[in-house]
Amino acid sequence: MKNKLSTLVVAMIPAGIALNWVANSIVEMLKLPLFLNNIGNVLNAIVLGPWWGVATAVLTNLVIGLTTRWTIIPFALVGAVVALLGYWFFKKGFFKSIPKVIAAGAITGVIASALGSAVAVYVFGGFAGAGVDILTAGLVAMGNSIAVSNLIANFPGTFLDKILTFWVVFSILRIFPVRFLPNAKKIQEGLGMNKGKKKDDKAA
């Protein structure tokens, strides 16, 4: 059974990376002001375990760094922390109802945006090589410090994004066919749906 987990993990992490990427392009197509580029990290953290979520985050930024823009690589730290928080909130029973999921996402959003700004300030002097930089520059010109400007410019997007990331992962795991999930029982317990409902899912 050890083997089963390892090749499953090996196959699942690239899928997590690809989902991060594809989710990002879907929200772009829907013209939503979101990224959802942590969705695979959170999913893998919950399904495979926290450190596999971190691995997904790091490899995502590495692959995007190698294919599109290298400046994204330091922000792997943010993705990794989001994965860990996702797992932690799942473990603490926050994935049992929508209000709790939103609360968990909100807390994660605050931490992620603070961390993101810290990385941007330390590594790139407050910018990140993205369109939102112009807003940051404008806020600096209005008399704010660079760190504060970066935080203000990035906060609304990141905050909303993490809430929706958690909500999407929660909603999908709940309707997921059991036979595709490793550790299905544990996950359903974490989702608060192990009371008799399970049998119906399986039949479907």
Binding site: N3, K4, T7, K202
Partner: protein, 280 residues
Amino acid sequence: MENKAIKVENLTFRYPDAESDTLKNISFELDYGEVLGIIGPNGAGKTTLAMALKGLIPHTVDGEIQGKIIVDGKDVLKHDISEQVLNSGLVFQDPEGQLSQMSVEEEVAFGLGNIGVPRAEMVKRIEKALQTVGLAGFEKRSPLALSGGQQQRLAIASVMAMEPSIMMMDEPTTMLDPVGKNEVFKVLKSLKEKGMTGVIIEHEIERLTMYCDKILVLHEGESILFGTPKEIFSDLMLLKKFKLRGPQVTEVAYEVFNDKEQIPVVLDEAVQSFSKELKA
């Protein structure tokens, strides 16, 4: 007894939480150099049987398994799959889902690299395998840029290059268009001519009769018929009982000939039988 390619004894399998057994008390034997075709309606347990023969059941899929499976002299239930790569190889149904590398040659090289085949040998095997499936000259292409039929032939080459004693294929043509199907069947025929030992799950009965030495008919997890194509398909009444049909030529001949011996299962035979009949 020792030199059977495949020996299955009283194989029974049940998926976790399933209501009934998916495979029920299946037994059969296959000699080296023979190709076994497995047919049966959807849900008969064909794929499950293939997975059990390869060892994916029970090593990667949970469930209750009973009985004995010996493939190429190895007890499948007792050895891990990684110890069986030289005994049997499996081609899956979905062509694209089997491919993971960035070029055709690297795709074939992937399995070889995993089992530590030295580079010089690797190059030779890649060339030979791609030649056999008709993909020579495609070495540097991306697998994603190939057609479905080409992708499936690449998957066959990738398994073949590892030189397993027995090739297994789970509906290798089901997801292909007619052109792709033809391409893959051509490869299968040439493999048969080269003396491959194999197991093929297939819907196209006409094609199966061309290169199968034995046919196993599955129905609701039970092995209801096992024998040569001639034995199986000449018994059309029994096939009909299980909602299966025989090859078209057989169906036609069945109406014409009374003598069971005369009933053909492949086209060439049919031509002979009919011309004999007409002369008489």
